[in-house]
Symmetry: C2
Subunit: 253 residues, 2 copies
DNA sequence: TAGAGCGTTTCGATAATCGGAACAGTGTTC
DNA sequence: GAACACTGTTCCGATTATCGAAACGCTCTA
């Protein structure tokens, strides 16, 4: 069993998104079908701990700076600065395109580290971004190596378009996953971000379970056949080092 | 009044630090003087929401990836990428040293953006780091412009050494704050990090209230008198632009 | 094989949460 | 300028969710 009060409080916290980062008390109450008093108590408790902050002019609430500290602990624990980012940098230098480290969390992928291309035109997805496992190379390459029953569950929960290019046909997706397993890598065009190509390889632990993926991504027009092949070679060359870094991480996790 | 359950749950979350990022259920219960069952319920509720995660081998818990998303919303809201970081970059380019944007949160300072020096030897403090207002240039420069009663409260709560150089004498501190108000900037040596010089200016809103500070920091040996003066000039030159960026931010916050 | 440790579950006693109503503000409308 | 609508906030008795000792199932050590 779980704590109802805490669970509701977290649901409330989840309302604070990039799309709507500020909320009033009654506004939140309406949105969550909760009593105003209850929302107020939750919100003021969060405020006391720096997790929410109140704008004293508009009286509305927004996420607090304390959350930056939690996030700092997470990334430090992943040893991202020390182990992973140097590897991403090498891949970025060799390809010239943005590189992403994505991790598996249940049935979603989470971007945990980025190394941005130094070119003027580049692909940018911020750390912390989450998305469904069926859209985009970085996610599909993880989904392909999950148990079939989990894949089935994801498809039964419904495939929704992120972009017009997102695969929403279960049969098409199933066949693609089959191909990804066969090749050991995945290329997608515009499935998660329009006009962007992603090339991804999975990272597995010593028992062969997928933990995450590494992706090179950039604007379509820069990815000739030769460039695709080169990117893939760079990724596959770095794979053993990435695996090793992940083993260090997984000892902590 | 505040919610006891939620308050305790957040206290529990606060145990997960860089020093001790993983905890067992009974271990946490002992540390917090709480019942094991209670801790277990809190922990598993957090886990259901991705805020904590359990290592299925050691059975211990650690902070979850969901926290990265909250942090993403915070920084996006601050429009740090868009407005602030380019300014920090200019300061870094002009001085060659690491630059920090710190914000005031009650009686602590929180690092909300960094632009690291490209030199081999550099000062590094990660985003999300918190510290008392009496230690280091970035913090003292904010404290100096607070109401006197708040300053008094901070001193009454006790001044503890962060490094051997930290000012712990209330009278010395009071005089320094006086000087900072007079000059409009602050230089400190080794108060927050040993052998590191920090040069900071405050950022105030249109009503003159301190919102944060910007700091140039690097190893002591690189800061000649000339370099100190140059850094200060760079900071003061960028100040109006930084203020403007902060005004944009404060409209949202 | 016994013991000590772990995370987890159960269930009745307990105490914290809930929520309607009212308060104190601000800004808008007529 | 008074009535209204809207904020965030506080109060207090009824409600119900949380609490916690004890036990379970497991692993690891002696």
């Amino acid at each position: 069993m779980s704590l109802k009060t805490l669970s509701k409080s977290i649901d409330l916290l989840d309302c604070f998104t990039a799309e709507q980062p500020t909320w009033g008390v009654r506004e939140l109450a309406k949105h969550l079908n909760m009593n105003t008093t209850v929302v107020h108590r939750i919100v003021s408790t969060f405020e006391q701990h720096g997790i929410l902050m109140q704008n004293k002019e508009t009286m509305k609430y927004h996420l607090g700076l304390r959350l930056l500290e939690y996030s700092k602990v997470v990334t430090e624990q992943l040893n991202i600065q020390q182990y992973v980012r140097p590897l991403l940098k090498e891949i970025m230098d060799a390809t010239g395109e943005s590189v992403y480290l994505t991790m598996l969390e249940g049935k979603v992928g989470v971007v945990v580290a980025v190394m941005l291309s130094t070119q003027e035109v580049k692909h940018i997805i911020p750390v912390g971004t989450r998305g469904p496992l069926y859209a985009g190379a970085s996610h599909k390459v993880m989904m392909a190596f999950l148990d079939e029953e989990v894949q089935q569950e994801i498809m039964e929960e419904g495939l929704r378009s992120v972009t017009p290019e997102t695969i929403v046909e279960p049969d098409v997706l199933r066949e693609q996953l089959e191909q990804i397993r066969k090749h050991g890598w995945c290329i997608s065009v515009g499935e998660f971000t329009e006009d962007v190509i992603g090339i991804a390889i999975p990272i597995q632990d010593s028992q062969g379970r997928v933990m995450g993926s590494v992706t090179v991504a950039g604007p379509k027009y820069r990815f000739s056949e030769e460039m695709v092949e080169r990117s893939l070679n760079v990724l596959l060359f770095q794979l053993p080092f990435l695996r090793q870094s992940f083993n260090i991480i997984s000892h902590i996790w």
